[in-house]
Amino acid sequence: MTSVELITIGIFQALLVLICAPLYSGLSRVLRAKMHNRRGPSIFQNYLDIAKLMKRQMVIAEQSSWIFKFTPYFSMAAMLLLAMMIPILIMRSPFGTIGDLIFVIYFFALSRFLFSLSGMDTGSTFGGIGGRRELLLSVLVEPVMMLSLFVMALLAKSTNLGVISTKISTGQIIYNPSVWLGMLAFGFATFVEMGKLPFDVGEAEQELQEGPLSEYSGHSLAVMKWGLYMKQMTLVALFLAVFFPYGSMSTLSFSGLASALLIFLLKLTFIYALMSVFENAMARVQFMKASTITWTALGAGILSFVFYLANV
């Protein structure tokens, strides 16, 4: 595969995530409404929201600085970059030569860093508290992500995402207990990172995950929200790339691309539906007790590591 082809695929993936992210977020809104026995919004409601917000005037608190203005741009740009790197449609990381899984985790952290800093930047109470929550969750969850990914990397003997994808889909890494537990731990971490229950309710803007959003308005709010939808989708894509890459193409062809695209969208639908079920089956917990729950995920991650050590 030539580098031109890889770059094309990478850009295609980025556009895919850009365009589809609001759709899938809308899907989970619809599913939740159905489970609540409500009629709920249209599945395309997020697109309409974005279009409306884009045309609204922006209101900015005077004491905010460039960080507040820059963060929306960056959070979207970062997700575009990550979408180019994660093997979504193909068994290789299209932009894999610029970074590996450690890079991906640290880049997620960078966008979160700016997100919480933008919350502090305006001096708004909700922004600061939202940023604080976001960072505490990352402290609890990011090591779990790193642990399960590291075990996969050890099995693949490489930290390159494309290599891990290829090895798992060609059966060089078999689904042993270590992989299953890693999948469980990483899935849980993804679930928390996506801003779902038990810690967050996406619609309670003022207090929870979206705290830093409270000061945004107009097109910066639109871009910020879009960036968050993209982040959810990118995380799911990362989960799929590492633990369930079947269906992606190994060599480039038009039919392969079409089927890979279809299969990827189906996988996404399944995961989002599953997450909605979990989300609605759970109660909210007090935030300060978050660590008691994330310990479970860490435990699964550590078990996965232990199974790896025991070569089970």
Binding site: M76, F103, A109, G123
Partner: protein, 672 residues
């Protein structure tokens, strides 16, 4: 020989700078500018000496000395040249910074300050250059003393005096351990030369003893847990350009000591040594950052963050030693590469952060993060350079901090692929704890930047703050540019550093970079390209504005409101989140670790208690014998002292010289 000559010139220039500023002590303005400029010139010569040494290979200088400890010898090998370059670059930045920073100390003895600063830099350079253990100790001790006088420069502050005292006690415990390890070497080798040390055939128990002594001794100076107790108070008390030097460079001389003695001289490592270093590194990294997070004093926070960074460096050294123990060259080189790279990066970003903290402290007269806020409007240069430093310390790609941590991950990853069970367990777990540390560092610096530079101004001082003067800004911009350079040009830098790492072990270097890419000796394991990351992120950053434009979003315009939204109530700055409340969830989640801190403080209290008791005892004996012996001696000394005063302006700080002379004489007497 040119590199040695340049090095000697640099040392002489530092001495001229030191003595000259002492002579100019009466003219504050002149002393301040003179010592700063001489420091810069000498550092520039030092940088060129390091560069020459890199180009021309190892150089040796031997001077016969009248002392019975062997000739005075210097050896500029790869490691020494690396350290000289590091010290000189930071010396340059600190001297530049000091020119306007010291304006606020105008009413003090700035000549003395210039003297000690230049001496401090010169002795640090000599410490890494000499290859004779005796002279190493002399310079090591002078370095400690010079820094002690700089820490206690503000003599009227109890805080400074206490910090200096604690520093002195811990530093001397460290020096004592190092001295013992050298004497064990000497007794078995019969020479003080490092080369002779490395040729020694010692039984393994003796080697282990030397290792433990030297590691703990240097570790105390480097500030690893649990010997870090002196750092927070010392760093908070010292003037900022000195703190920058102590954190950025002086700690690295201790790292140099560990590499020189424990790796170079002791040679083949045993596995348990390596695991010990790795574990100490892990403990320092995790505990350091958790404590950093709980601090609201910006300099104490940075000091704890230095503990964390020393932990990362030690983890690199430990991984390299694992490679030595299992005879895996790639792991060895990657581990030492990560350690050296992080030394370099930490010097740049921590120097930068301390300088920026000093700039803020100058303007707001406080180190308390709760009393700052909104400084990015009034101090844009300080804010933006601090931000660059934050990105680097939090290891965000493609900054320099990320590159060294990435190499550390890769070294651990490679080490994990081993048959030996402890390594298989410990290496991946270290990587996970590294990730954990990374998230806490990010939180810590969101808090620091957020409460100092963002948000509302919480006090009048922070509202009226102004940007610092040109030389401070220039110095911070220089270091920030260095951070960016070390990140974006990492392929070239890492290939250079891997050859330094290889020279420590006397093996040939493996490739870790090609073109724009860096990789951990094999491209299959991993591949990243920092410059490409920057290019692509700049490209993708164009997307959001294009999208907004397509939606017609820019037409709507924007409107400023004076305050953020506060649920319809009137907004006041107290409503914003403060540094105290920001870390509260972490403090409650990791309650047990903070309990440890109180526990760890107990030995400190005990040690200072012992030192005090010895002092009291001495005082008691003194009164007892006063009339018989002391008084007559006192009168003679007083008389001589008064004569002497005319020569040396009666400056009590000259006593550092006496102490060194006494040390030298005592050693001569003992070994004759």
């Amino acid at each position: 020989m040119i590199s040695i000559q340049l090095f000697v010139v640099a040392i002489l220039l530092f001495c001229i700078g030191a003595l000259g500023s002492l002579l100019l002590n009466g003219h504050k303005q002149a002393a301040r500018v003179y010592s700063g400029i001489l420091g810069m010139v000498a550092s520039a010569v030092g940088i060129s000496a390091a560069a020459c040494s890199f180009l021309r290979g190892t150089q040796v200088l031997i001077l016969s000395s009248p002392l019975p400890f062997g000739p005075f010898s210097m050896k500029l090998d790869g490691l020494a040249a690396f350290m000289i370059g590091l010290i000189s670059v930071m010396g340059f930045a600190a001297s530049l910074y000091s020119i306007s920073y010291l304006e606020k100390y105008e009413h003090r003895a700035l000549g003395v300050m210039g003297f000690f600063t230049n001496m401090f830099l010169a002795t640090m350079l000599l410490v890494v250059a000499v290859s004779n253990a005796f002279f190493f100790l002399i310079f090591w001790e002078t370095m400690t003393l010079a820094s002690y006088f700089l820490v206690t420069f503000e003599t009227e502050k109890n805080e400074s005096i206490h910090a200096g005292y604690v520093y002195m006690v811990v530093a001397h415990i460290g020096t004592f351990l190092i001295m013992v390890s050298f004497f064990v070497f000497y007794l078995n080798v019969g020479s003080f030369n490092f080369f002779a040390f490395s040729q020694a055939q010692l039984p393994s128990t003796l080697r282990s003893l030397i290792f433990i002594l030297a590691f703990l001794g240097f570790g105390a100076k480097a500030g690893m847990v649990p010997l870090h107790i002196w750092m927070p108070s010392t760093y908070a008390a010292a003037p900022s350009h000195i703190t920058g030097l102590m954190a950025g460079v002086m700690k690295k001389t201790a790292i140099y000591g560990i590499l020189r003695i424990c790796v170079d001289c002791l040679g083949l490592s045993m596995l348990w040594w390596a695991l010990l270093v790795l574990l100490f590194g892990l403990a320092s990294a995790v505990i350091g950052v958790i404590y950093a997070l709980a601090e609201k004093d910006i300099k104490r926070m940075l000091a704890y963050s230095s503990v964390e960074n020393v932990g990362l460096i030690l983890m690199g050294i430990g991984t390299g030693m694992i490679g030595m123990a299992v005879n895996n060259q790639a792991v060895t080189l990657l581990g030492f590469l990560a350690a050296l790279y992080h030394c370099l990066n930490h010097a740049f970003f921590k120097g930068l952060l301390f300088f920026a903290a000093g700039s803020v402290e100058n303007q707001t007269n406080t180190r308390n993060l709760n009393e700052m806020g909104a400084l990015s409007r009034n101090m844009p240069w300080t804010a933006i350079t601090f931000f660059v430093g934050v990105l680097a310390v939090a290891a965000f790609p493609p900054m320099n901090g990320f590159i060294s941590e990435w190499f550390l991950y890769q070294a651990l990853f490679k080490a994990a692929d081993s048959q030996i069970f402890p390594i298989r367990v410990l290496a991946p777990l270290s990587a996970i704890l590294l990730a954990f540390t990374g998230t806490l560092v990010a939180m810590c610096f969101v808090k620091a930047y957020g409460s100092a530079f963002a948000g509302p101004s919480r006090t009048r001082e922070s509202h009226q703050a102004r940007e610092s003067s040109a030389s401070m800004v220039a110095s911070m911009v220089f270091l920030a540019a260095g951070c960016l350079f070390l990140g974006l040009f990492s392929p070239a830098v890492s290939q250079g550093l891997v050859s330094v790492a290889a020279s420590i072990r006397g093996v040939s270097a493996l490739p870790v970079a090609a073109g724009m890419w860096i990789f951990p000796t094999t491209m299959i394991q991993a591949l990243i390209s920092p410059p490409l990351v920057l290019i692509i992120i700049l490209g993708t950053l164009l997307m959001p504005p294009v999208i907004i434009y397509l939606y017609g979003g820019f037409k709507a315009g924007r409107r400023s409101v004076p305050d953020p939204w506060a649920c319809g109530y009137g907004y006041s700055p107290e409503m914003s989140i403060s540094a105290n409340s920001f870390d509260q969830p972490v403090r409650s989640t990791f309650r047990s670790v903070y309990f440890l801190r109180t526990m760890l403080n107990k030995p400190l209290v005990k040690v200072t208690g012992w030192a005090n008791r010895i002092k009291e005892l001495a005082l008691k004996r003194e009164t007892f014998m006063e009339h018989g012996i002391t008084d007559p001696i006192y009168h003679v000394v007083d008389y001589l002292g008064k004569r002497f005063q005319q020569l040396q302006m009666g400056d009590i700080r000259m006593y550092c010289l006496y102490i060194i002379l006494t040390l030298a004489i005592l050693l001569i007497v003992v070994f004759r």
